[in-house]
């Protein structure tokens, strides 16, 4: 018994150290965002909110933010719609070459992003198309669809097929059944898919770096700023705001996931669907 306790505490200690490792950079972000020094190093020199204030009248930043929002919102919507089609087909039907088709759609999960970026770049060059926010959106949708599919897969597979049959049986049409039964039941999944794909697109750098035109997205803007030491504290402040935004989006996504589980009378604390 004593031996087991010792082992348990070792594991626990290791897990705790690991969590410190995971959170070390994240914790530093707000610290330096409020540090009254242009040098990103210890010791800290004092408290200031100047860096946040400086963000307000930075027009390059503002346009990067609005570009990123346009890209992320569009990519989230397109990839959630495409993800929903694929998830529904995958959960409900058997069809020829299913493994191959699903494999291609999920391929971006195991393809280095640089390959996707380069491939799209080559095609756009050949077609003579110029780079714009749309080319970034196209790339982001490719990367986001597999995530959207994963979220919606669990939404659709949790949907009892007899619910839709019951609706037909009670005289409802196919569209009416979708509107009154299917959609309300997968809505939480749709919302969490939108939030997750939005977050992925907002943070994506490699594809945006290759495919962005003159309108840069936020990560590309940040990349350009990292070269200038004087700009760094401002980047820290920006990063802190982004951190707050993504964490709140994730909490919202988690809330919706739990509500789906609850509505279906499942145990909300289970990890099903989260992964």
């Amino acid at each position: 018994m004593a031996k087991r306790f010792k082992k348990l505490s070792w594991l626990q200690a290791y897990a705790s150290v690991y969590m410190v490792f995971l959170y070390a950079p994240v914790v530093l972000l707000p610290i330096f965002a409020f540090n009254d020094s242009t040098v990103i190093a210890f010791p800290l020199s004092g408290f200031t909110t100047d860096w946040f204030a400086s963000l307000r009248d930075n027009s390059a930043l503002k346009s990067a933010v609005s570009n990123s929002l346009i890209v992320a919102i569009t990519a989230a919507m397109i990839s959630t719609i495409l993800g929903a089609f694929a998830a529904r087909a995958g959960v409900r039907y058997r069809f020829p070459a299913k493994r191959g088709i699903m494999g291609l759609i999920l391929l971006p999960l195991v393809l280095p992003e640089i390959i996707i970026a380069v491939a799209l770049l080559v095609m756009l060059m050949r077609l003579g198309l110029s780079l714009s926010l749309w080319t970034v959106i196209v790339g982001h949708v490719l990367v986001c669809v597999p995530f959207s599919m994963a979220v919606l897969n669990s939404a659709f597979s949790g949907l009892d097929q007899s619910l839709e049959e019951a609706s037909f049986d009670l005289g409802e049409t196919a569209w009416g059944t979708f509107r009154r039964v299917t959609f309300p039941l997968i809505l939480p999944g749709v919302i969490s898919s939108l939030l997750i794909t939005f977050t992925i697109s907002l943070d994506e750098f490699i594809i945006a770096f290759f495919l962005t035109g003159t309108d840069v997205t936020l990560p590309v803007y940040i990349w350009s700023q990292l070269r200038f030491p004087a700009k760094l504290p401002g980047v820290m402040a920006l990063g802190t705001l982004l951190l707050l935004l993504t964490i709140s989006l994730l909490v919202i996504a988690e809330f919706f996931r739990r509500r789906t589980a609850q509505r279906r009378g499942l145990d909300a604390s289970t990890t099903e669907g989260l992964i």
Partner: protein, 289 residues
């Protein structure tokens, strides 16, 4: 079973077709084009579409590219090993020791992943730098007299940073595999006389192999394609093949050579993944025998 297989197949295909069409046009077609491109040549802005193996010859024989390719492979394998090995105990802890707050733990593990990747890499530079957090803390504590230099701008920094970046991707698949293990199997092993260590190696580990394999591939593949981390924290000794691909498509303006490098690295990653997959299947089988 409610409709004929043929009918069902048609409905399924129809439903999947928008997504599939998107993937064909904007993923499969570009990938094929990259492969074609790698057999062409470019002289400034003129593209010569006569098929040639010149790019591959250069990519595979020029010492610079060969060195970068081998180094990428070495670093990727190292990063993957470190990431997966360090993640396993955490996954094990959450799966077997955490009783009530599993979802919270998983949330905490995945949350840092959602902060800007660029900034996370950059912050490691801050932590590991000459005047960085780590060195200043050690100096302050009196453990060292002058800042350690071997931790930034080299392979170590790349390994640490990437092990951090891919942590949730390594932990989650292993966790899922561990969660699937029927706990009564462990009790049965104990009942049949296995101690905790033997039980771990005879039951837990073999059954966790699929998760470990998934974690390995999920970490390995994007690592090869990363060029931010090597660029920010790797110094010259930490540069990898993706940096060169980026240069070929950018400043060097030699897209066909870049394409050949990209295709080559894709094949190397693919081959390596296949090898890992086969090896892990073998390990799984041997362990089960």
């Amino acid at each position: 079973m409610s409709i004929d297989a043929q009918n069902e197949g048609r409905k399924g295909l129809l439903l999947v077709s928008p997504t599939f069409a998107y993937a064909i046009l904007l993923l499969a077609a570009p990938l094929i084009l990259v492969i074609l491109f790698s057999f062409w040549t470019q002289d400034y802005l003129d593209l010569d579409t006569t098929p040639t193996l010149a790019n591959y010859k250069e990519a595979w024989t020029a010492p610079l590219y060969r060195e970068l390719m081998l180094r990428s492979l070495r670093i990727s394998v190292l990063v993957t090993t470190v990431t997966v090995l360090s993640a396993f105990p955490v996954a094990y802890y959450v799966s077997f020791r955490v009783k009530e707050r599993k979802a919270l733990w998983l949330f905490l593990i995945t949350a840092p992943f959602w902060t800007s990747y660029l900034l996370r890499v950059f912050l490691w530079k801050v932590i590991l730098g000459y005047n960085g957090v780590f060195n200043s803390a050690l100096l302050w504590a009196g453990i060292i007299d002058e800042p350690l230099q071997f931790i930034l701008y080299n392979v170590n920094a790349v390994v640490i940073t990437l092990a951090h970046a891919w942590a949730p991707f390594a932990i989650l698949p292993i966790f899922v595999a561990l969660e699937k293990i029927d706990r009564s199997l462990l009790e049965a092993a104990e009942d049949l006389g296995d101690g905790p260590v033997r039980r771990f190696f005879r039951i837990t580990l073999p059954l966790a192999i699929p998760g470990v394999m998934a974690a390995t591939l999920i970490v390995l593949i994007p690592t090869v394609g990363d060029f931010i981390t090597p660029r920010l924290v790797g110094g010259t000794e930490g540069l990898m093949i993706s940096n060169m691909i980026q240069v070929q498509f950018g400043k060097a303006n030699n897209a066909p050579l870049g394409a050949a490098l990209a295709v080559s690295s894709m094949f190397i990653v693919g081959g390596l993944s296949l090898l890992i997959f086969l090896a892990s299947r073998r390990v799984g089988r041997v362990a089960e025998d």
